[in-house]
Symmetry: C2
Subunit: 111 residues, 2 copies
């Protein structure tokens, strides 16, 4: 299909909370509280999105005492670091064209 797999990948990462979580987990594994503190997001917000990341195979968990340590899946990590470069080029092109502005794009789809 190709569409289904791209959609999964794209939808997971085109949410600010999940994107931020994944970027942090690119560096090192973290507990929920650590993520909350680092990002300044509410705990349930982080947990809900971690569940989504887990369902989609983006992360793995390990219980450690009272905590749950989340780590990025290896394949995903590799995939993201590859795509990252392309997106950076894309970003500079977007700016040249004036499509991407400082405030970002509020609504992507509305015409």
């Amino acid at each position: 299909m190709m569409y289904e797999s791209f959609k999964l990948f794209a939808r997971v990462l085109s949410n600010r909370t999940r994107f931020d979580i994944v970027m942090l987990l690119m560096e090192r594994e973290m507990s929920v509280l650590e993520l909350c503190d680092a990002l300044g997001y509410e705990q349930s917000r982080v947990s809900h999105n971690l569940r989504c990341l887990l369902n989609c195979g983006f992360v793995e968990v390990e219980r450690r005492g009272k905590r749950r340590i989340y780590r990025l899946n290896g394949e995903i990590k590799e995939l993201i670091s590859k795509i990252k470069n392309h997106i950076q080029l894309y970003e500079s092109w977007l700016r040249e064209c004036g499509i991407l502005r400082e405030e970002g794009i509020a609504k992507v789809m509305v015409e």
Copy 2:
């Protein structure tokens, strides 16, 4: 930012209509009617989504008689063909893990 640019790219392509249109335009330029016929989608559906693709810099238009011929932007075309390979690897991994099934994924986010 990086998030904003990824989000734009991801949201544009994680819609079946737009994805299908873009895939066709990877091969050759086409008019609206040609796209409608090839995809079996309603005309206004295609037009709405072409407008979105245009706003986001994915496509360019040229008037030719009564028709409007749409073509994929060069940078985008290159970007997509690069990312395509990564996504194909990702797809086979998704299948191995059992995350991606035949029916696809209905709701990505719901937990």
